[in-house]
């Protein structure tokens, strides 16, 4: 088989594991690909390099794909995806000082699981009354699951993230330091940065993205739309290699191996001990349990995790509208149809003899127990699904969903946010 060269961009995070495992375990080679992994320092750079063609595919924040189709996002190329790389994996970490203030403000609220924003709401109110500076909360990119998770969490308790706190975009490695110095009071980031803050005794992780929205689609393998159209066979090989790595990553032994691989200087370049909680799960930390090592904190394959649900693209688009990132009329149904490629996923999964859903849309937040997905080529076990505020997302009634939020900063009329015909 002829070998084809491919450049794939990744950001040094724990959930870049599928690409690194595919490379190190020879899965790219197996599928005839000679892959160079290119480490990038920012999501802006990932977007620009993918658009420009300097890289062919990228480890990408799931919302960046639908965002490339709306007028407000600065990209001249539209991105598509046929593969979700992981579910969950982020957390909100607060500084020790803020943690103490939260406990003092509302001890009961801090003992509940999941921890709601009730206590932080009280701290915010106190600061307003006393004329103090607002709390500073960091997230990683305007079109990121992190940004939407922290906003959802705050909004669920009636806090307006654009008015009641100061939201800043900052690189996670530096935010860890800034927790100690009081420059940021809290952040919502991926791993290994929550664990890094906990290990260094600088902060406490109080809520996971999985608790805000159980099984949040996190990263995807993004490619340019035109590239996907012109390189179908190559795309197929790429998806096959990465999907094989994802299947392997369901195995705890492989996840432990990934810890060692990711720690290397050319990859995430952090001590193995801070990668381990998210990858190897319970029992890693000796002193006390961290939220980061909870079950399903980071899912790579089971629960049909890799399937690109079109309803996931729709959910992210509702959040972009909710927080004023969409300002011009948009037919979101068409974006979901074109940007997410479940048909392609099914072809690849079929070849690898994996079970796959036969429907493209599903409800979210509607079940508190595991269930069987019958719209599949064989039945699939699906997890419970919930949002922290108990609401239900029905992808066939987007307008009602957008209008249901108590806290929002809509900058379009919900009628201009249409599902299409």
């Amino acid at each position: 088989m002829a070998t084809e060269d491919l450049n794939i961009g990744f950001v040094p995070l724990t959930d870049s594991a599928p690409l690194i495992v595919a490379k190190e375990k020879g899965l790219f080679e197996k599928h005839g690909l000679n892959v160079t992994l290119s480490r990038e320092n920012s999501w802006s750079q990932i977007r620009d390099k993918l658009t420009a063609g300097t890289i062919d595919a990228a480890h990408m924040l799931a919302p960046m794909v639908p965002a490339s189709w709306i007028g407000e996002a600065p990209s001249s190329e539209k991105f598509v995806t046929a593969l979700t790389l992981n579910l969950n994996g982020n957390a909100i970490t607060v500084s020790n000082k803020l943690y103490d203030q939260l406990t003092e403000a509302d001890r009961d609220a801090m003992l509940e699981r999941p921890i709601s924003a009730r206590a932080i709401r009280k701290v915010i109110a106190q600061r307003i009354e006393r004329g103090q500076e607002p709390l500073t909360i960091g997230a990683v990119f305007p079109f990121s699951s992190h940004n939407y998770a922290v906003r959802y969490w705050l909004g669920a308790e009636g806090i307006n993230p654009d008015r009641d706190v100061r939201m800043v975009v900052a690189p996670p490695p530096f935010m860890v330091e800034q927790l100690e110095q009081g420059i940021v009071d809290a952040f919502c980031v991926g791993e290994p940065w929550n664990t890094m803050a906990e290990h260094r005794g600088l902060g406490r992780s109080i809520v996971t993205s999985a608790e805000v929205w159980r099984n949040t689609p996190e990263k995807v393998l993004g490619v340019r739309r035109h590239w996907a159209q012109e390189n179908e066979r190559l795309h197929f090989s790429l998806l096959s290699a990465v999907l094989e790595a994802l299947v392997l990553l369901d195995d705890r032994n492989v996840r432990q191996e990934a810890v060692t691989l990711l720690a290397r200087p050319e990859y995430v370049n952090v001590p193995a001990a801070v990668l381990a909680p998210a990858l190897s799960g319970p029992g890693i930390l000796q002193n006390r349990r961290s939220l980061i090592e909870s079950d399903d904190f980071l899912i790579f394959h089971h629960y049909a995790a890799n399937f690109p649900w079109r309803s996931h693209a729709l959910w992210y688009l509702t959040q972009m509208a909710r927080w004023g990132q969409i300002q011009s009329p948009v037919v979101v149904g068409e974006i979901a149809e074109q940007a997410y490629m479940p048909e392609m996923y099914r072809l690849v999964a079929d070849e690898l003899k994996l079970t796959y859903p036969t429907s493209d849309y599903k409800m979210e937040g509607n079940t508190d127990r595991a269930w069987l997905l019958r719209d599949a080529n064989d039945s699939l076990v699906m997890p419970r699904s919930s949002f922290i505020d108990g609401t239900v997302f029905n992808p066939s009634d987007l307008r009602a969903y957008i209008e249901s939020f108590v806290r929002h900063n809509l900058r379009i009329d919900p009628a201009d946010f249409s599902a299409g015909s």
Binding site: N41, P74, A170
Partner: protein, 199 residues
Amino acid sequence: MESNTETPLIVLLIDSNANRAKIVEEGLKGAAVVKQATELHGAELLGLVRQLQPDAIIIDCDSPDRDTIENLQLVARENPKPVVMFVEDGDGALSKEAVRAGVSAYIVDGLSTNRVLPVLEIAIERFKMVDALMKDLQKSKEDLEARKVIERAKGILMEKRKISENEAYATLRSIAMKQGKKMKDIAENILSVSSLFDD
């Protein structure tokens, strides 16, 4: 252009490459004060931008602070600044992309002292043009938005007080004048109060 004005330009440089920083400083000698910000990130970096009010920001495309600067420029649009970006890129495709993403000018690959100032000046000019366009666009959007809100508030007043459209408008205007607020703000208050009494 502005190279001979009395007050020097203020330039914020976000680049960890010391050689390049030296070239920038030499190239701008006498024309600009260069402030380096390699150790500041996120909220601190934004604080420095607020405090310094630089005439331009020069940033390396590989800098981890790019998302912060881009958010400032494009999303928050909180007092945006001209941005010049260092790009190492043979065919120029990447720099073309960066220009679309709110960067005013770019310096591809090699950098020489005599090119720094001209590029900076072009960036500032280009930024002024784009910024004026964006502000016009924003203003017409806001006007449209205000008109919609005022229409809805008028409707509520007409129904609740059984008054004519002209009277409703006059009422809104007189409240706005008395309180020294914009009509749109008064209209929004009416809408949010009335929504409390719905259902």
